[in-house]
Amino acid sequence: MKRRDFLRSTALASTALMAPSFLMDFQSKRLLGGQAGKKLVVVQFSGGNDGLNTIVPYRNDLYYQNRPSLALKSSEVLPVSEELGFHPALQSLRELYDEGLVSILNNVGYPNPDRSHFRSMDIWHTASDSSDYLATGWIGRYLDTHCEGCDKPYHALEVDDGLSLALKGNLRNGFAVSDIAQLKRTTDSRLLKAVGKYGATVGHHDEENVAYLYKVMADTQASAGYLHQQMQTHRAKAEYPQTPFGKDLKQIAELMTADSDIRIYYVSLTGFDTHANQKPQQERLLRQYADGMKAFIQDLKSKRLLDETLIMTFSEFGRRVKQNGSGGTDHGAANNLFLLGGGLKKAGFCNAAPNLSQLDDGDLKYDTDFRQVYATILNRWLEADAAAILGQRFEPLALV
């Protein structure tokens, strides 16, 4: 189908059919009895995690010189190689690492790094060059392009009340929900139900944007109903930490267990902007992360889902090598990135440790463009056309 025709047919579909496509996907899949396929879970550390105190170069003098009070002692860290060790709060992650379920990429970044949270996060979300501004995200464009000409569109879900730019496409968006029961109550309100019924009765809207709004609403109502029903029947029995992050992961596991076509999940852990008194704050967050991940992975393993699940954890930037005057660190550049799952090509460290002697204006230099990671995941994990989605060709990596 030519792009023009495709656009016309989707416009037609949205005005004439008013079908809750999300629900239809599930139904068609059930009829086909197909296998859901590989899943991606993206974990975002918001605020800029200090990677150097996460994966610690515990034998590097420069690390200790730059961080007189913030450095972790070599006796504290959990060593995993000659050079690098985990933050002590990452004990659970260390156990996963020992099982071969963790890959670590150091020095991930992009050219001309931006040190603003918003801007750098946008760059990660849109996968643009740092001089470009895009209004769509890499996952949104995956939904767009992967959907083109295929009979089985997939969906992406973010565990949050707002949808991140990463999940916004031109034709399709991901779905945001933090609390499925609450969403169900909202869309079931007498008023929204009545409006939904009205939209279905009127059926035909001349104005394309009005038709679009009705379509999104119908999708939302159908999705809320479907997700709620799935949650009811697939309550996770595994124990998760009693943290908001643990709760989010549990919800994801429940949906993954359910017979759902959601291929990408997106979840954030916030609070990494540690300009002052970093130690207790980062320790708490890293512990939440590691303990959550361990419970999640054990749960997936027991359900035989681990081999088809890949978890990517990133942050919008790392922090400066030198600590600041108040027991914290300021915004930096390149950072580490984690991949977890059962299908890793190379567990352990994928590249060299950060070079603390060659800095770019006090920050780590990147040697791996984050879009190489995206390209690898898109091509090899999600079997999509990475070059079309990213708008450029990036050298894939031996990750999955």
Binding site: S46, G47, G48, H117, F118, M121, D122, Y133, A135, D160, D161, G162, L163, S164, K168, N173, G174, F175, A176, V177, S178, L183, T186, T187, S189, R190, L191, L192, K193, A194, V195, K197, Y198, G199, T201, V202, E207, N209, V210, Y212, L213, Y214, V216, M217, D219, T220, S223, P244, S268, L269, T270, G271, D273, A276, Q281, L285, N324, G325, S326, G328
Partner: protein, 459 residues
């Protein structure tokens, strides 16, 4: 009547009950003149001095500094709420605020200090309907802009091209009409355009490159003003702005013929913004059916529109900040220098659900339990239980319905509230309007139901 509503939505934020009753039978030219007359009488909000940035002993600690940054962020947030209420206030010039909002999205800038945000807003307001030449020059000398686009760091010995590039790519001539050399040379011309600690624009001769610049086929010892003059001498700049204005004020789907006409008038008037906007509002095609009710309201349009129609008092002063954030448009905080993408980009399942539930929340003073984005510095993801506790004063709506029979209430209200038609709306209502309801209760529910329709999201 539909035309009058259309004009007031695109040139303002819709009509209050009183305005609607007064103006609904006006002719277009009378209404347009009235809007421009109001704008000419408008007064600016007085500015505020920038607090001394350093030096004081208590500022010396980092913690104190972080605390102040946080305070300023709150102040800027409250200012965004202030501005929103000004847009909604019938005593202010709606056209001026609308044009100012357009330019805020055009010269998109994130402001971190409240006095700088206010100063920029006043600059935008002062020139929003004046000369685009003057406006562009003022924005190049605006301190929040200088800091946002790193012109502080643009010095003779180490030029920073950020401002020069965005000036061409996003503010004036647009991509495809300049070279990388033009960017480099323009950056040189803006060296030394800086600001002091008091938040004032200063020109630093020691940092300025007085050498020859080669810009768009000309050579000279140009400074920033010369660059702007040359950019605006190009017809491509008029084209670029006319197209953007068309997409904003008329329709996202561009009609090339009308854009060409707008561009020509704009260029020939030497960039008089009033000429550009008058041409739009006084053209027949502006009122054609495919342009009316075809635009998805931005979150700010939506909120300002609601506040203009209903008298709403929020208990929490941050309620309007919360709504902006949850719906994805925070004033003084556009996502990046390209501004808000608009249109369908406003809509996803979560924003649409909130938009459609908003009237219900307001009328029932509900608690809304939502996590909002855009706070990366937040200490942690607190469970954000946000209250939209508000009192809704319906007295002006009752006034509108004075003498209207119960059966006619839905039609009269739909006429007042909706810009896109909602045929057979009464089917939604029938779910609600049964049993023994008082007339006031009927009016309340009908208003709430109309404001919950997808059609209400259109303007």
């Amino acid at each position: 009547m539909d035309k009058i509503k259309h004009l007031h939505w695109r040139a303002g934020f819709g009509l209050s009950v009183e305005e609607w009753m007064e103006r609904r039978n006006w002719g277009i030219s009378k209404a347009v003149n009235h809007l421009f007359d109001e704008a000419k009488k408008a007064k600016l909000k007085p500015g505020a001095p920038v607090p001394e940035a350093s030096g004081a002993a208590e500022e010396a600690t980092r913690e104190a500094m972080l605390e102040r940054i946080k305070d300023e962020r709150r102040m800027v947030a409250l200012q965004s709420s202030d501005w929103l209420q000004r847009m909604a206030d019938p005593a202010q010039s709606a056209l001026l605020e609308r044009a100012t909002l357009f330019w805020h999205g055009h010269f998109a800038c994130q402001s971190k200090l409240s006095p700088l945000a206010l100063a920029q807003l006043n600059t935008l307001r002062s020139h929003a309907l004046g000369s685009f030449r003057e406006l562009t020059l003022r924005m190049a000398q605006d301190v929040a802009m200088i800091r946002f686009l790193n012109n502080q760091q643009n010095r003779k010995d180490s030029p920073n091209e950020n401002f020069a590039r965005e000036l061409m790519e996003l503010f004036t001539i647009g991509r495809g009409h300049y070279s990388e050399t033009d960017v480099k040379e323009a950056a040189k011309a803006f060296t030394g355009w800086s600001s002091n600690l008091r938040g004032e624009f200063v020109f630093r001769p020691g940092q300025h490159d007085y050498g020859l610049k080669h810009f768009m086929g000309e050579s000279g010892r140009f400074d920033g003003g010369d660059i702007i003059e040359r950019l605006l001498d190009q017809r491509a700049t008029a084209d670029f702005i006319a197209r953007k204005a068309y997409r904003y004020f008329v329709n996202e789907q561009v009609n090339e013929e009308y854009v060409a006409l707008l561009s020509k008038r704009f260029y020939e008037s030497d960039y008089q913004i009033e000429t550009l906007l008058r041409t739009i509002f006084e053209s027949d095609w502006f009122y054609s059916p495919q342009n009316m009710g075809s635009k998805i309201k931005s979150p700010v349009d939506l909120m300002a529109g609601i506040l203009r129609k209903l008298n709403i008092r929020f208990e929490n002063e941050f309620s309007l900040v919360f709504v902006q954030r949850a719906l994805g448009q925070v004033l003084f905080n556009p996502p990046n220098v390209a501004g808000w993408p608009g249109g369908r980009h406003w809509i996803d399942n979560s924003t649409l659900t909130l938009r459609m539930s908003l009237a219900g929340y307001l009328f029932n003073s509900a608690e809304v339990n939502l996590r909002t984005k855009g706070e990366p510095e937040a200490a942690e993801r607190e469970k954000a239980m946000k209250k939209l506790q508000a009192s809704v004063d319906m007295s002006s709506i009752f006034l509108l319905l004075n003498g209207v029979s119960d059966e006619q209430i839905p039609d009269v209200l739909a006429d007042f509230l909706l810009q896109a038609p909602a045929p057979r709306f009464s089917e939604v209502l029938s779910e609600y309007l049964h049993g023994n309801l008082s007339r006031e209760e009927r009016i309340r529910i009908t208003t709430m139901a109309l404001m919950s329709l997808p059609e209400y999201q259109m303007c």
